[in-house]
Symmetry: C2
Subunit: 415 residues, 2 copies
């Protein structure tokens, strides 16, 4: 059943021996695809208020950092920048984990990195699906195995978690901390300890929440935590911070099989990021150096403000926003206050309106992105993300004014 | 043997029902990792002449394009930019393939994208290994199957290719066009036709060669072709153009199993890049929009010069460089002229010298990167890459002067 791979070697001893006699017949090919006209026009990019669920606006300081000259992916200076990034992620994640790095891809690649490395054939994964991120994790997990879907309708009490862990005895439990499709901030306390009671690793997606809501990787006993660069960090999309606990590393580095992906293989990534204690680094892939510059700068910004200040600011701004929405007569999709994600707010789609008309109107008239639902929340909500530098009272006022204007001008059915 | 994945659903009907009674116990966690001092220092990046095998220097025009403001990964403007990129890749690859896009990762992720999508369990891959890129492709292929290694020492005549194809009946044949570890430009004519005679797909790695040496994807019947952004294109590393023939698509879209990776699944990527003819695009991942800006700009530069002019410039500059090296008494690693990669030159490591001392001296004294061997060529060669904007007579003169200086000042053993 496994594919047979036949590797055919051409090797050389000192110098190369070649015998390409048959290739000497002249090249008969010629240019048949002309240069495209569209590329003769200059690149134009509009400025937008990026108040959707991400990517968020990138301050010029971070954009400029990314425009520094390219150096080598194995130069000592880039290793120093990568070490700085590592320290910044450890701070942002509140972890001492040595195995802390950034994946050269977006948040989804970090999700795959976690699942590919932690799971071996024959092992099971328990995915707590409460929105699109769980769906995606399940989709990834299914590709390296078979999925058993429990009937929908359950809810996540710690008792239910324990029941499921004890029933299925999974290797890995996935929870999305910030479920940006529904606007829910999933409580994390106690789940790590519970997982470890059942010899299970605890994997948390914090793409939409990190930096905007408290996460304590070590104290909450999270084994694998990842995020993306383009949300609270306000860096361009393209890199994804990730960290692995000692427990996760023990499991991963005693695998019997190699992970399916070479690109995301933690043993290679760990060496490239200087996390494996080995004296020298071996070429794995060409790190996106300019994206590392921006990521470092975005972590500097977080360090300057301080994590606790950032959490508090996001919470205060979210509360101010929620009060403003309610005073307009709009309803918040997440009823319970402490379960509301401070970074991405879900508003019940205003009754009688077409949500698409609202978001289009606001984009067109106010040059401002807010979005509709995603995955299971499509048609049910409007989503507003105020993350990192975007999380301010001024921006709340701008969004509220835009929403008021939209509700006034968009078509409302007579009900 | 397959992992069991248990997916546990929390769903909502209209609004969310939650019962988190057990989470209400106050959060006992607190900050334990202080803000790192290293991130309180500003980012500093040196300027280097990047004349190694890549990444190459990025002109300010392309760096500045990447510093444009972030827009949404699903905005119409980014789709237009992606369409422009698609046209540029079609031109660069000389293909009419609709299924043309850029992977959100480096060259290695495109290599995995090709192998993951084209190969199903039970199928075999033939990897022609003549340096590190074949080794890497074999490493990736092995992870989704079992590898049979033929003894080293063979060489790639078209007769040997036919013998191997007829013996192993593989699904996919991998060839690196520009093998930057050895400096070899592998002839491509005739291999595609041969593959199709044996119902095999032809996969070509052109990371180090595209734009600097002729490739005619359609006429040479290449089924999957990919490259990286950081070589001749002179864009920062982080995106990887790839294209699939009709024949490859037919095979891929009639798979019985899903590819192991969701992030690299062609059916999702095809939709995100508007290659599948469907009226709307579904959210797959957050495209690295600023990297797309740079990639578009780098393709514009290629379009302005013209592909044939670029090929000719690289060839002429390489010949000028090779003549200069030989007049210094240095030997080229690849004896046969027409097999020399015009983008990356391999020089036999000068006898009596420590190659590491030479590259370090040149970096330190001339602020210029050239590199040693990679994989099988470590210790045997020095490698100099002059790619895209770096391919000029002025830069050749700079490298020759630096080499002369190094040979004069570095320690030579008395032999």
């Amino acid at each position: 059943i496994v594919p047979r791979i036949i590797v055919w070697f051409l090797w050389f001893h000192g110098s190369l021996r070649f015998c390409f006699a048959c290739y000497t017949a002249g090249n008969m090919s010629s240019i048949s695809v002309p240069p495209p006209k569209c590329l003769q026009k200059p690149l134009t990019v509009p400025y937008r208020h990026m108040f959707g669920p991400g990517p968020s606006n990138v301050p010029s300081r971070i954009l400029e950092a990314g425009a520094n000259p390219v150096i080598g992916h194995m130069h000592p200076e880039i290793f120093e920048i990568m070490n700085d990034i590592k320290s910044g992620i450890q701070y942002m994640f509140q972890t001492q984990n040595k195995m802390t790095l950034a994946v050269s891809g977006t948040g989804h690649s970090a999700m795959e990195c976690a699942i590919f490395n932690a799971v071996e054939p024959g092992e099971s994964v328990l995915v707590a699906v409460n929105g699109i991120w769980g769906e995606r994790a399940a989709e990834m997990a299914e590709r390296i195995g078979k999925a058993h879907l429990a009937p929908p309708g359950g809810c996540f009490t710690i008792e239910e978690m324990e029941k499921a862990l004890s029933k299925h005895r999974p290797t890995l439990l996935f929870v999305a901390h910030g479920e940006s499709s529904t606007g829910v901030l999933h409580p994390l306390d106690g789940i790590g300890q519970l997982c470890h009671k059942y010899n299970c690793l605890f994997l948390v997606d914090s793409v939409a929440s990190i930096g905007g809501a408290p996460v304590y990787m070590d104290q909450q006993e999270i084994d694998i935590l990842y995020t993306g660069s383009q949300k609270v960090l306000n860096a361009p999309p393209g890199t994804a911070p990730i960290s692995f606990s000692e427990r996760a590393c023990q499991k991963i580095f005693s695998r019997r099989t190699k992970p399916v992906s070479f690109y995301l293989d933690l043993s290679w990534l760990a060496n490239y990021w200087g996390c494996d204690g080995k004296p020298s680094r071996v070429y794995h892939h060409t790190g996106p150096v300019t994206a590392f510059y921006s990521l470092r700068e975005s972590l500097s910004v977080l360090v300057e403000e301080g994590l606790e200040n950032s959490w508090e600011r996001h919470l205060k701004v979210a509360e101010y926003f929620h009060a403003g929405l309610e005073s307009m007569g709009l309803k918040l999709f997440v009823k319970e206050k402490r379960l509301r994600l401070p970074t991405v707010t879900t508003i019940v789609a205003p009754y009688g309106y077409d949500w698409k008309e609202i978001t289009s109107y606001i984009m067109k008239t106010h040059n401002l992105e807010i979005s509709g639902g995603l995955g299971p929340s499509v048609g049910l909500v409007l989503r507003v993300g105020l993350m990192g530098c975007n999380s301010s009272r001024e921006n709340v006022d701008m969004v509220l004014a835009a929403l008021k204007d939209a509700l006034k001008h968009c078509h409302k059915s007579k009900v």
